[in-house]
Each structure stands twice: as structure tokens, then as C-alpha cells.
Symmetry: C2
Subunit: 415 residues, 2 copies
């Protein structure tokens, strides 16, 4: 652990949604400083600010330039961070707020979806020397040409993790409105249990398979730079969920004593659409053409299943996010002409349920257990995809919650 004893704490929009909540975050920051840490707070915009600003822009232009959107949206964090600095000052502690560029966060110039290129930590260390709690605007950075960028939705998580890496912080605390990462959504399964520790890969699979507690890119960044993340509640002092390299951090607390679970969590994503393309000539390059067009339209394809049917005519099923439907329809229309495809079905009534666990790698039969668990209740599996630590099944949307409960019981994840 770092001798500098630096702690990065990130608070999302709901945690700073009102001035009262900002005062509570201030209290929390001061407590951490009094306990001996050099504290960096990363904040999102207050409550619905970002959506309000997007609404304002929409009144003016249906398709505003992304540079100007970033200029607009980056004000949200600037408001919450300056208010938080005032709140900390009001409680008698030193604080200073820094915009993305003041904090030295340099990004590429892909506006609205910028990636952090480097962080110059000089200013933050200067502020530590002045005994300041340092508040940094999440979600934003600056290009080499001094243009303001934003990192895309959930980008504040990425800011926090990147700062933790750049400052060699002992860990990065992500404060949220739940107690941590759960074995599944507690709103669906009553006895869902908080997970004490997750590997980066498990957290990555959970984030990409529907769990919303941590932003995918932030976890990738944490994995690449070995930043320990602590996901915890902003409403209490309970221990949350630690995300870390389980092997490397055996000395960290007593958490390594835990037996590695085969399955750690069940996630689901009802925000998907299945597209089935029938009657594709089974000739080389057709699939590449098809997915190439989706990629050109910036549509993220999630699951893919291909079957060769009779007469060497193939069928491909794939899933995409619901919000990409309209663009996907246009792509499909042009594909129909180009590839002489006979039939395309769009099915929005599906959901994806997944089981995630690092222990799967060394435990055969997990997939079989999952399929039989669903099969016993006559839940039909329409698509399957697997990786070393995740198995996902597409099923009917109306049975998704039931399936989550069944799998949660089946793998004995409850309290």
C-alpha cells in the first residue's frame, strides 16, 4: 500500500442531489481526512442535472455537435464540486475543487466518449501539501488542444479509478445507493446477499451482463492498473464489496480466506432485442459483411448464434441493446438488398440471464446445472453464450425474473 496514504472517493449524482446531501458527503470526506488520508473526492453532477442540460440542448438542435454538448454537460460537475468545496469549508476543513483540466486529466478528442490518455498529478499533490481535500469533476477531461471532453455515461467511475491509478491511491471507493454488489438484484430476489469480494473479471462480466453498480470501462481500467475498488453505500458505514485481483491481494484484510465460490452472482438484462436473420447464403464473407454493417452503424452486438440449416442456408440470431433498434432497422433494410436475405425477425420480448463466477473455470458441469435448473421449470433457452467465467442464456422476457430467482437458489447464493 502507498506510503502517501491517498484515498479516492467517488460520489454519484444521487449522493450529491441536494445541498443537504452535499453536506453529508462533506462530513464523510472530512472524516476520511481526519483518519489520516489525503482525500480526493470525485463527483458527478447533481441529480438530474445532466438530463436537464440534454433537454435544454434538444430544444435547440436535434443533432448538436458533440464538442458543444461536452462544453454544456461538463458544467454539471463544476456546479456540484464547487458546492462540495464550500460545504467542506463551511465545516472548517480546507478544500479546493478542480475541473478536469485543472486536475490534469488529458483525453483523446473523441467528444462525448473520450478516453483518458494521461493524468498529470502535479496540481493535486500541490493541493495535498496545502492540506486541501481535493474535489475533482468526474466525467470530464481536456484534449491536448484545450477542448473540454466528457467520458460518456458513467464516466465519473472511470475518472475516480484513473485518478486512483495516477496517484497510487491505496484504493478507490465508489459510493452508491446500495450496500455493494449483490449476488443478484435484491428487488427481485429477497435473500440476495452482498458479495464481499469479486475479481476484476467477475466484475467485468457482471457489469457487461446487466449489473449497473459499476461502469464497465472503470472496471477495465482498474484491472489494467490493478486499482482496488471498494463499492459501498453513501448512506451508512457498512463494508461494501471489494473488487480486486484476488491472487495478488492475499494479504489484504482477511478476505482471501473466503473459499472461491463457483458461481458468484446472477445478473440479468431485460434491455435487449433479438434479431434473427433467416435464409442467408452460406458463403464466406456474408457474416463478416453483416456484422461489419452493424459495426459501421456503431451498434454493439452482444450475443451471436449461427446455425446452418437445410440446403446450406444459414440463420443467424444476435442480440443488441433496445436503444439501438431504430438504427438497426435501417441497417437491416440495406442488408436485405445487398445480401438478398429472405426474412428478418425482430423480437423485443427477450431477456438475458447470466451466471458469473471465477470458479467456473475449474468446475465442469456448471453450464449443465444452469440449463437443467431452467429446463425443470420449462423455461426455454433460445440462445446461449459462454466464456470462462460467465454463462448467458436468452429466454422470454416475461420469465426473466423467475429465472433469476431459480438460478440464485440453484447455486445457493442466498443468505
Amino acid at each position: 500500500m502507498s506510503e502517501k496514504n491517498i484515498l479516492v472517493m467517488k460520489f454519484g449524482g444521487t449522493s450529491v442531489g441536494t445541498t443537504e446531501k452535499i453536506m453529508r458527503v462533506a462530513q464523510r470526506a472530512i472524516k476520511a481526512k481526519k483518519e489520516g488520508s489525503n482525500v480526493v473526492i470525485v463527483v458527478s453532477a447533481m441529480g438530474d442535472t445532466t438530463d436537464d442540460l440534454i433537454g435544454l440542448a434538444a430544444k435547440i438542435s436535434k443533432n448538436p455537435k458533440r464538442r458543444e454538448m461536452d462544453m454544456l454537460l461538463s458544467t454539471g460537475e463544476q456546479v456540484s464540486m464547487s458546492l462540495l468545496a464550500m460545504a467542506i469549508n463551511e465545516k472548517g476543513e480546507n478544500a479546493v475543487s478542480l475541473t478536469g483540466y485543472q486536475a490534469g486529466i488529458i483525453t483523446d478528442n473523441v467528444f462525448s466518449e473520450a478516453k483518458i490518455a494521461s493524468i498529470n498529478n502535479e496540481r493535486i499533490f500541490k493541493e495535498f501539501q496545502k492540506q486541501n481535500i481535493v474535489i475533482v469533476a468526474g466525467f470530464q477531461g481536456i484534449t491536448a488542444d484545450m477542448d473540454i471532453t466528457t467520458l460518456g455515461r458513467g464516466g465519473s467511475d472511470t475518472t475516480a479509478v484513473a485518478l486512483a491509478a495516477a496517484l497510487d491511491a491505496k484504493y478507490c471507493e465508489i459510493f452508491t445507493d446500495v450496500d455493494g454488489v449483490f449476488t443478484t438484484d435484491p428487488n427481485i430476489v429477497k435473500n440476495a446477499k452482498k458479495i464481499e469480494i469479486l475479481s476484476y473479471d467477475e466484475m467485468l462480466e457482471l457489469a457487461s451482463s446487466g449489473a449497473k453498480v459499476l461502469h464497465l470501462r472503470a472496471v477495465e481500467f482498474a484491472k489494467n492498473h490493478n486499482v482496488i475498488i471498494h463499492v459501498r453505500s453513501s448512506f451508512n458505514d457498512n463494508e461494501g464489496t471489494w473488487v480486486m485481483d484476488k491472487e495478488k491481494n492475499k494479504v489484504f484484510n482477511a478476505k482471501d480466506k473466503m473459499e472461491q465460490a463457483v458461481v458468484s452472482a446472477v445478473s440479468y438484462d431485460a434491455n435487449q432485442i433479438k434479431i434473427s436473420v433467416f435464409g442467408i447464403p452460406d458463403t464466406p464473407g456474408v457474416a463478416a459483411h453483416l456484422f461489419g454493417e452493424f459495426a459501421n452503424a456503431n451498434i454493439n452486438v452482444d450475443m451471436i448464434v449461427q446455425n446452418v440449416g437445410e440446403n446450406e442456408i444459414a440463420a443467424i440470431s444476435l442480440t443488441i441493446k433496445s436503444e439501438d433498434l431504430e438504427i438497426a432497422k435501417k441497417v437491416i433494410e440495406s442488408l436485405k438488398k445487398d445480401l438478398q436475405i429472405s426474412n428478418i425477425e425482430i423480437d423485443p420480448e427477450i431477456a438475458k440471464v447470466s451466471i458469473v463466477g471465477a470458479g467456473m473455470k475449474s468446475h465442469p458441469g456448471v453450464a449443465a446445472a444452469m440449463f437443467s435448473c431452467l429446463g425443470e421449470k420449462n423455461i426455454n433457452i433460445e440462445m446461449i453464450s459462454t466464456s470462462p467465467i460467465i454463462i448467458s442464456c436468452v429466454i422470454r422476457k416475461e420469465r426473466a425474473k423467475e429465472a433469476v430467482g431459480l438460478l440464485h437458489d440453484c447455486f445457493d447464493l442466498g443468505e
Copy 2:
């Protein structure tokens, strides 16, 4: 006039108060560009944004650090300028919005009341080369240490004039909700007339004596850098009021043909308080001590009249702004002890009426005409101050508007 043909246009908060109004400003900017100018637009924050942000801060701290207030308030202009850029883009023209630091506006580090130290115009010229209409945040700049500053209320006028100077613009247009500078407040005197041309000194005296149409510092800046200002309405295309060095700009339009008026305008300021200090020992250094204490408390003293009474005991009357009353009271309490002053009276029921005109310098008897005009109607003059181009009288507040009308008629300023 500059070969670069640069035009700086400044729009205040009411001119960009709604998205509809922003669309109208966009139209205006495009028109100016199509007429052949390189256009820089300086904007204030939308409508009541600044006051709303101040209210938000007040919920958290009664005395927030000025650095953090500047961080907070500077977001207001960032919102309006990005929306304006989107509006111009939406109408098919190129535009880019720049924050104070992107536009190269370097200030000292007196937060909330910063002064512009220099402007690096490199970025703006680069944007001109890209055929962009350049939108710059008013009211803000950055210190050499990269901290955001604001220029104080009305600072957007100063931003506009300073940019016009730094870019060698042909002139600086200040758009407002009236048609220009009037001979007096049209709300008080029905036949008040728009003034076609004013010298810097006249405009300075008008701004400092109560006319709110232009910010005092902006006029000082314009005078020092010989920037021609055109104050005009954002609601129509009428010619407004030109503020310029009348001598140097004889070639400019046909305005120099106008005969120099003896009195150009009548202004008044009801936002003043008279403080009378009686029984001051008439010894050297006492007045210096008294006004030194006011200066230390950052109270701007406007008019001063000193009379030596009986027994070599002096009385001093002075006026200050109403908002400084509470601080002034504290200063007075400590002065009473230090200087053994017997009696101090505070009188908020006064107003200042002034006549302004560059022609006064060469026309004796203007003061006499003013006093007799007021005297004929039994309006008692309690204090008088004069400079080469302004004469101000303190009178009872309840007769201020009447006095303005009388003087306006007396010097034949109406239409």
C-alpha cells in the same frame, strides 16, 4: 478601421434568457458574418442563472470562498455559450464556444472581482481561419495558476471591450433591452431621447452617476484602448448610441457633424445614503483618518462636502451606496471612539441627480442654470459636486424623479 474586419457583439442575460432568444441571437450573429465580419459573440449567463447559483451556494455557506464562487458562477456562461454555438450550427453556420481560458483571457487572482491582465488572441484567430463564429464566455478568465476567476457584476461588458481591444475589432456592439443610451430614464421622462454619440468621459460619468446601460469598468477599458462601443437593442436593427473619442473619430460616419451639446443627459441614483459627521476637531489628518477607515472597509465614498463650523469644529457629509450601510455603521462606531466625534447622522432618504455633458467645459453658467431650475420648484440642494463634465446634486429622494424631469426640460433634451 481594421483590415481584419472583426466585430465583437455582446449579449446580456436577458438577450439569451430562453432557447428561443438564443435562436434569435444566432440569427443576428449569422447575419453579421454574412455581411463580411469575423464575428466574436460574448454572452452572459441565461436570465437569472447567476442569481440561482448564488442562492444554491447560500444554502450551503453564508460566506463561501470566492475561488469556489467563481468556479460555480462561471458555469452559467458556459451553458449559454454552448447552447448558442448549437443554435448557430443548427442554422447551418460554423461556430465554436470558448471558455475564458480557452479564449486566452488571463486575469489577476482577485477572485470575484478579477481584472484582465492580458489576452492571448491566438486561439480566436485560429477559429476565424476555420470560418467559425467564435462565442466567448463573458465575465470570466483564468489566473496564471489556471484558477477560474470572474470579473464581478457586469463583467461581460468588460470581456467584450477587452476582446475588441485585443483583436483590434472595428467596434464592440453591446446589445441590451433598450435602444441605446437616453438623455434620461424613459420610464421617468416620456420624451427622453436616444443619444447618438457620447464621449468616453460622458459615458463614464453617466455610468458612475446611475445610468445602468454600460458597466463602468468596460467604459474605462474602452477609453484606455480607444475601443468604439455601439450600445443598441437586441430586439431591433435600429442604430443605437455610439461611445467613442469624438475628436479622433471625426471621419466616422456623419456623426461628427452634430453640434456638441452642452448637456447630453440627466441621470439619477436613488441607491445612495448620506452620512453626516458633526463636531470633528478641525485638525490636520482627521479627514484622512476618517476616509482611510472607509477605504479599509472597502466602502466606496461618492460625494464629499466639508464645512468648517463655529469654534473650528468641522462637519463632513458624504454619500455611499445603500448596500454598504451595515459595514459603514461598524466603521462609524469605531471612528466615534477614535476621533471623539459627537454626532453622526445617517440619512437614507436622499437621491443624487446629475447633468452630464462634454460641452460644459466651455460653457460657463451651466451649474447656475441647474441650481435655479431646481430652486424655482423649491427643491432643496443638500450637497453639490462638480467636475469638468458633470454636476451632481443631492436632494430629497421623494423629489428625485420630478427633478430629473425638470432638468431634462430645462436643458431642452427631449424630442
